[in-house]
Point group: C2
Chain length 151, copies 2
């Protein structure tokens, strides 16, 4: 199980107002015009509207801004957060743990150490998962080539 080239990491410097380091992705609209409806966010993230509301209810999504009629208006920063959450989800992290991380973020800079620790533990899980998958790949390849030669 050959393990991975670790990425050179943090090239992007953090926006001082940002919760964490800046993601390398463009937003659909520039800051200032970033008041997306829920259906725009659905189109952009691939999550359902149900799931977006549910994330908010359980505290995984911080207080989303509202229009004067009470409809949600998501910002670019909300989009960044959702993208990150999605990545965590893909690692298999339970939603409860993501909520825990969200709570740490809400508590401010004093939780940097805890957050780092949490992410490092997640990182170890991801590496283990990748190794497992490489292992599985070897088994699959063996079986596939058996079927390929046997017929």
């Amino acid at each position: 199980m050959t393990v991975m080239q670790t990425t050179p990491a943090a090239t992007g410097r953090a926006n001082p107002a940002d919760i964490c380091s800046a993601p390398p992705r463009r937003h659909p609209r520039p800051d200032g015009q970033d008041r997306y409806t829920i259906s725009e966010v659905v189109a952009f993230t691939g999550l359902t509207a149900h799931t977006l509301r549910w994330y908010e209810r359980i505290g995984l999504m911080p207080h989303v801004d509202r229009s004067h009629t009470g409809q949600r208006r998501y910002s670019n920063r909300d989009l960044d957060w959702l993208e990150f959450v999605n990545k965590l989800r893909l690692t298999g992290m339970p939603v409860a743990d993501m909520v825990r991380y969200a709570e740490l973020v809400r508590e401010g800079e004093s939780t940097y150490a805890d957050r780092q620790e949490l992410l490092e533990s997640t990182r170890r899980d991801v590496l283990a998962r990748i190794a497992e998958l490489h292992d599985t790949l070897a088994v699959l390849d063996r079986k596939i080539s058996f079927y390929a030669t046997e017929r």
Copy 2:
């Protein structure tokens, strides 16, 4: 019941009657003495007894041999199958798909092509999953190094 001492045991070459290519792992006991109780299999696979019985009920585990009193006696081949199933499980394959594969195996050699196809599709999923995890790793590394330098 005495559980587990991993004996060096049988060189697991491919039994000609075997369903597929041979796994590279040693069995706890050589062929001929391979009549494991359910609790031995629990210790060996890490699955629970409940899960083992459930796998059998839903058709994921082929007909396990029984003692004269009706208790399950697992063979080395059963262990191999469980190990493979466990690998498939780790890929995130739904149980229903694994049952489908088990059915193909039961149907015999005529299903080689179908089985190959199924495994190749699984293989593609695994590769995609690995790529996703690498992506996530990059994000984690960026955030971790942010937290590391920021305090």
